[in-house]
């Protein structure tokens, strides 16, 4: 009896997971058709990529700490209290919270894990930027084109010159 109920529970969980994954695919999940064409994000800095080049020989250290030897230029200002490199990076791939590994050129999937509504707007072409043809093929700017993933806040800009005052126009 006990074994049976345990088994049923497992079956149920598996079923629910399956169902939810189907649901997420059809409702919120990205399908290839949703995103016709996109800008491939710039590859990570060449001296660091692929990560495995160095990290294959290093032990995995999940402890949050200040990096002092490498990657010192990376300042994490993106929910940094609850976040460590390995939450998003694994070997030469990006890591989704469920453990799935994805390519860098699918990075929007990772962003979309937390920023669901923005991800939805981005796919609709509302958040972020698309260029190309309004009545044809469009190119999407990836999230990381405008937001540094480690410090996603937009950088302030210098404005262009104000218009001339009418009294100055002669």
């Amino acid at each position: 009896m006990k074994k049976k109920s345990k088994f049923a529970l497992i079956i149920l969980i598996i079923l629910m997971m399956g169902l939810s994954s189907i649901l997420s695919l059809s409702l919120g999940g990205e399908t290839v058709e949703d995103i016709p064409k996109s800008f491939v994000p710039a590859p990570p800095p060449s001296e660091n990529f692929p990560c495995s080049k160095c990290h294959d020989n290093l032990p995995v250290n999940r402890k949050q700490r200040k990096l002092e030897m490498y990657h010192t230029n990376i300042v994490l200002k993106h929910a940094e209290k609850d976040r460590w490199c390995l939450d998003c990076h694994e070997r030469d791939k990006l890591r989704l919270p469920n453990g799935e590994l994805i390519d860098y050129n699918k990075s929007y999937k990772l962003c979309g894990q937390c920023h669901g509504t923005i991800f939805r707007d981005w796919k609709a072409g509302i958040h972020g930027k698309r260029i190309g043809l309004w009545n044809g093929e469009k190119l999407y700017y990836f999230c990381v084109k405008c937001h540094d993933p480690h410090q996603p806040r937009f950088k302030a800009l210098e404005p262009k010159k104000p218009p001339m005052n009418p009294a100055e126009i002669k």
Binding site: C146, K160, P163
Partner: protein
């Protein structure tokens, strides 16, 4: 008197320049060319754009291309691409994203051959203080010039031609020199406009600009790909305005301001296509149009996607 009729260069008008001025002035009012030749009469008698048959338009455009190329010392091509059927252009602007950088203003100037001196801008970016009366235009600032934008405590509202479905400017034009083309864009025939500026008085959005003097554009900056009703170089004494970059959008491209916007606040598409971005915005976002109480029915929609963009 002699003090007053001074050129800005400081040269007093003597009798000779006076007479020369008279001749040039008379020719110059009708002609882009400063020499009265055979095309003077052609230019003077040119028909209204919508009254010409296609082959007449072709002929006129040939002459205009020649005149413009001569005058601007650059090979200028003028197209007359017609509106795409079943298309009505609409524009969306995300106020929660705009950071007031004015990149759109200058991209527009360059794409659309606006005069540099005297300065003409089709887009005006207004800065508002947060926490004050909403869209209180009178307390807005268009000459803001901080080191960095966006400035804390402020938000920005770019304004350009709203391409009204019920355009007051078209209603008042005494010569029908301006009209709404089938794709909903309000255009001007620069060869038919008499320069009375009634449309400027009628426009609630300050979208129309007048060529108070002959426009001045450095040859190397002149965009030679033009449209008759859009960005071809204008004449002294005529009104001009935003056409949603008719020369680009009628061949499928996005307007220059959409393409340049660094925050992707500007959206554009076909209002008649239920799958377009602009329809998605209208149907799903919080949308408003400027001065709705005037019943002009702008096809320019301001919207919000969330909190205002913050920067480091």
């Amino acid at each position: 008197m002699s003090k007053k009729i001074k050129h800005s260069s400081g040269i007093n008008l003597d009798r000779r320049t006076f007479i020369k001025g008279a001749a040039i002035g008379l020719a110059g009012t009708a002609l882009p060319l400063h020499t009265a030749d055979a095309s003077f009469l052609d230019a003077f008698l040119q028909k209204h754009f919508r009254e010409m048959r296609d082959e007449e338009i072709k002929k006129v455009i040939e002459r205009l291309e020649k005149e413009a190329s001569l005058e601007w010392k650059k090979d200028i091509r003028i197209s007359a691409t017609k509106a795409i059927p079943n298309v009505k252009f609409g524009y969306g602007l995300d106020l929660s994203r705009c950071i007031g950088c004015r990149k759109c203003v200058y991209a527009c100037v360059e794409e659309n051959n606006q005069s540099r001196i005297p300065q003409i801008h089709w887009i005006t970016v207004l800065r508002f203080k947060k926490g004050e009366k909403w869209i209180d235009l009178e307390n807005s600032e268009k000459y803001y010039n901080p080191k960095q934008i966006p400035e804390p405590g402020h938000f920005y509202v770019p304004v350009q031609c709203q391409q009204c479905e019920n355009p007051p400017c078209v209603k008042v034009c005494p010569t029908q020199a301006t009209w709404k083309d089938p794709d909903g864009v309000i255009v001007i025939d620069y060869n038919w406009c008499i320069g009375c500026r009634y449309c400027m008085a009628a426009c609630p959005y300050g979208a129309r600009r007048f060529n108070w003097a002959k426009p001045n554009i450095p040859t190397e900056e002149l965009n030679p790909e033009t449209h008759y009703l859009g960005n071809r170089p204008r004449y002294k004494g005529v009104v001009e305005k935003c056409t949603f970059c008719i020369q680009r959008t009628r061949v499928g491209k996005y307007p220059a301001c959409v393409e340049v916007c660094p925050v992707g606040a500007r959206k554009f598409g076909n209002l008649l296509d239920p799958k377009s971005e602009i329809r998605y915005i209208i149907e799903n976002m919080r949308v408003f149009r400027l001065k709705e109480d005037l019943n002009t029915y702008p096809k320019f929609y301001y919207f919000f996607t969330g909190w205002q963009l913050k920067t480091t």
